[in-house]
């Protein structure tokens, strides 16, 4: 039996922003407004929140499925720095709950919703649009220094 907790945890992510909406960087999944994002697993073990249902419930320890988040903001910023124009990068925190698999540097979760977000290289108007759509704190800022722990290059 796995441990049970009552409060969501927070993790860090990077997104691409388009017309005030947040999209995952790897699979391009649209993060829904005012509704939780639910992980599903795609066929063949290659999975994404937007993947096909039917293999197993996500996340699964033996798979790579689930909604990903990182423990360190520096790691999320590292990913955001690889997003190039015209795409707009953003970094922020997500609430995670449901079934959660903790990993060395992050989490894979069953459910998620954006907690707050910082958009990079845009106007305050764009941040306001995100703020209104998702009902979260949204700001405009710049990415910090390179992380002390480097991740694999693209």
């Amino acid at each position: 039996m796995s441990e049970l907790y009552l409060e969501p945890i927070l993790g860090w992510r990077a997104w691409k922003v388009e017309h005030g909406r947040l999209y995952s960087t790897v699979f391009g999944t649209l993060w829904p407004e005012r509704h939780r994002l639910e992980a599903t697993c795609g066929l063949g073990g290659r999975s994404s929140p937007g993947g096909l249902r039917g293999v197993h419930e996500a996340p699964s320890a033996g798979c790579q499925c689930g909604i990903y988040a990182l423990k360190a903001p520096e790691d999320a910023e590292y990913l955001a720095r690889q997003i190039t124009p015209p795409d707009v990068p953003a970094v922020g925190r997500v609430s995670l709950w449901g079934r959660v698999i903790e990993t060395e540097r992050g989490y894979r979760a069953q459910y998620a919703y954006v907690y707050d977000v910082m958009l990079v290289g845009v106007t305050g108007e764009e941040a306001q649009t995100v703020r209104n759509r998702y009902a979260i704190d949204a700001s405009v800022g710049s990415l910090g220094q390179p992380p002390s722990v480097l991740l694999p290059a693209a």
């Binding site: 441990e3 907790y5 409060e7 990903y68 990993t103 992050g106 209104n132 009902a135 979260i136």
Partner: protein
């Protein structure tokens, strides 16, 4: 779409598994009839990582 580094490489290997069943889901809600007037700041819960 240009792919970023693989997700698994980003977060590393699994350490443990647990379940979170919050009393209230952390999804902001506000009246459907006029979402533009909705409060933009959700309720804040203290950040907590299970020990």
């Amino acid at each position: 779409m240009r792919r970023l580094p693989t997700q698994q490489a980003e977060i590393g290997d699994p350490v443990r598994e647990f379940e979170i069943d919050p009393v209230e889901e952390p999804v902001p809600s506000f009246p459907e009839e006029d979402p533009a007037e909705a409060p933009a700041t959700p309720s804040r819960e203290p950040e907590r990582v299970p020990a």
